[in-house]
Symmetry: C2
Subunit: 218 residues, 2 copies
């Protein structure tokens, strides 16, 4: 009984974050009202305030849900897995409201009086983990520190999605990810790994399109 | 006579951009009022509307004034000049309201209904020019396209100042620039250039501190 209630609470919380993400994605923090978020979620104010103390608190939860949206269901490892994560991220950012809202709020946070580096740090951690595996497998050049490269990748991805949003509504984001890796890899990976690492936007397809059922091949 | 009037108009426009930058830097786009900008500039609404049609128009001018704030008074060339520009930019961003406001507005522009990639493209052009010189001097590795590397640098710098703003109020921005170059250079520059290029925050000092008069040495 207790665990069924707990499960319901988790589902409610998730549904609220999802609804909030959609509204934040459409209207930004200032333009999103609690009543519109409740309407979108089909819930009462009571349910919302049980989980979140304020709109700021809800925005923070959306911001910090970002890395969780990209589940590495990949069989790749090390550097290749990291490349795959960035390719999937670029593709998802074109359509996934949770990821889009997280990115938008992180960039806009100063306008609502927040300075939270957690979203950057969480991405950095995900990337550092891949790079530690890469280092263990001998994929990285001597002197390349996993945490330093992880930070640079987070910085580059953050900036490239902003540039792509302003220039092409993010249509050219996957190409930017490819260019980043082509320029970065030779300086950080050993030659054999540079040669075998696949940096191709189509690697993001299986997971990027996972929402749609697989059609018959023709 | 005509030219004296023109000169006055240019000075008025500059003073308005400067005052607007200070207010935008402090309060963002939404928090900045025209009346506060006029008060700061010590000017009338008539003067403002002669030069700018709206607050949006003024914000655009501030956004696009960014690269002009870093005058390359440097005797360095090619890659070293580009490194110096990023080091000066990192230092200036800690104190120069025009640069800070430009960066803030560029990031916040979606909140006031703008999507302008001009600031990114202008930075990109400045960097591409340095890289074309570098290529001409044989500093770049074969296959490194100046425009591609310029875009990646703009993306990385954009993201790193956001990360640094959230994490340390930009105190660690110069260190982030140094880390970026240490990771990028080996993959894009020929070995002799990697060895001789100086990537040290103190290179930004002479220009970064140019506002203050030189004190007597002790």
């Amino acid at each position: 009984m207790g665990s069924a209630r707990q499960e319901r609470a988790i589902l409610t919380r998730k549904a609220l974050i999802r609804a909030a993400a959609e509204v934040f994605d459409e209207s930004g923090f200032a333009g999103a009202s609690i009543s519109r978020i409740l309407q979108r979620a089909g819930m009462t104010a009571g349910a919302l305030y049980f989980h979140f103390s304020s709109k700021e608190d809800l925005a923070k939860a959306v911001m910090n849900a970002q890395p969780g949206t990209i589940v590495p269901l990949l069989d790749s490892e090390g550097l290749q897995q990291l490349v795959d994560i960035t390719l999937i991220w670029a593709r998802r950012l074109q359509t996934d409201p949770l990821l889009r809202a997280g990115v938008r709020l992180t960039g806009e946070q100063e306008t609502f009086g927040m300075r939270d580096s957690t979203p950057y740090q969480e991405w950095s951690q995900v990337m550092e983990e891949c790079l530690r595996v890469a280092q263990h497998k001998g994929e990285l050049q001597a002197g390349v520190e996993p945490w330093e490269l992880a930070e640079l990748l987070v910085e580059s991805c953050t900036g490239m999605q902003m540039y792509a949003a302003a220039k092409s509504c993010r249509a050219d984001l996957p190409d930017r990810v490819v260019r980043m890796w082509r320029l970065l890899l030779p300086g950080v990976a050993v030659p054999a790994v540079v040669a075998r690492t696949e940096v191709n936007p189509t690697r993001a397809m299986p997971i990027g399109e996972a929402v749609a059922p697989a059609g018959p091949s023709d």
